[in-house]
């Protein structure tokens, strides 16, 4: 286990902005693609994606 507390985990040894900025934007971009795909699938055919 690397982290003593949640605040240590979020701080990432002082690199929190860079690490969470990377993971946050990656997660958001992938979520956006999945949302766009689900919407396109609903419009093009009835079955769920």
């Amino acid at each position: 286990m690397n982290w003593g507390s949640w605040s240590e985990f979020f701080a990432m040894g002082g690199y929190g902005v860079y690490v969470w900025g990377s993971y946050g934007v990656t997660f958001a971009a992938i979520a956006l693609e999945i949302w766009a795909l689900a919407r396109r699938a609903r419009r093009s055919h009835a079955a769920a994606p």
């Binding site: 934007v25 990656t26 992938i30 693609e33």
Partner: protein, 234 residues
């Protein structure tokens, strides 16, 4: 001989449609499970890096995304070439279905690279051979999508896009070997097929799990998208 017949059977969009749905569902679930395992290993098992501290944890998305950005392009260009050579509708549709996901991973590789470059190099961006050729890859994906969107006739759009995709494939070895051919700020490969990885085992495991998750994600997303393209066109 029977195997050959089966392949041509699935080359028809109508027969491929339900198969793609089944494969996509399995891959969505596999990608989610592998990503959860990869993130667990990446944040809770892999140790702090001696030189870079916690900033190195960006590696678990940066390297797999960069691998996928190149790999998806090669697969896209291969489908485009098959579509151009044999005039098969489904091949061209697969190329179109892969482009947005490839562009997504290229964007993620560039974005996470910038946020990793700032604390380690002191700059978000430098015009180094690796970074510049990866940026060109993003423009190739966006150019392919824009070109296809600009042409109304889908068969003509397929052929024009295929030409662009095939010409652009020369950029992929340039990205891959850029760190050897030029004196770049970007470091060389830590992982290669010919020797043991130069990193801790847990770091390597986390990276491979995330790479497999991105791999399955790409299959799931492109097959889901090709089903939309089939339904819209046929």
């Amino acid at each position: 001989m029977s195997a050959t017949i089966r392949w041509f059977w699935f080359a028809s969009p109508q027969t491929f449609f339900p198969l793609a749905g089944t494969i996509a569902r399995v891959c969505w679930i596999g990608a989610a499970l592998l990503a959860a395992a990869g993130l667990y290993v990446g944040f809770f098992v892999a140790p702090t890096d001696a030189q870079q501290g916690e900033a190195y944890r960006i590696i678990f998305i940066h390297v797999p995304a960069a691998w996928m950005s190149m790999f998806v392009y090669v697969v896209m260009a291969a489908w485009a070439a098959i579509g151009l050579a044999f005039n098969t509708r489904l091949s061209a549709m697969m190329a179109s279905a892969l482009a947005p996901t490839g562009a997504l991973f290229t964007f993620i590789a560039l974005w996470t690279g910038a946020l990793w470059g700032r604390p380690t190099w002191g700059a978000y961006w430098v015009w180094d051979a690796r970074l510049s050729s990866e940026l060109i890859l993003l423009f190739l994906y966006l150019g392919f999508m824009a070109l296809q969107a600009a042409i109304d006739d889908p068969r003509r759009a397929d052929r024009a896009g295929a030409l662009l995709a095939i010409v652009g494939v020369v950029n992929v070895p340039i990205i891959y070997y850029s760190v050897q051919w030029w004196n770049t700020l970007h470091q060389g490969a830590s992982v290669s097929l010919s020797r043991a990885p130069s990193m801790a085992a847990a770091m390597f495991t986390g990276m491979i799990l995330m790479a497999l998750a991105f791999w399955l994600y790409s299959i799931a997303a492109s097959l889901t998208r090709v089903r939309c393209i089939i339904a819209e066109r046929e």
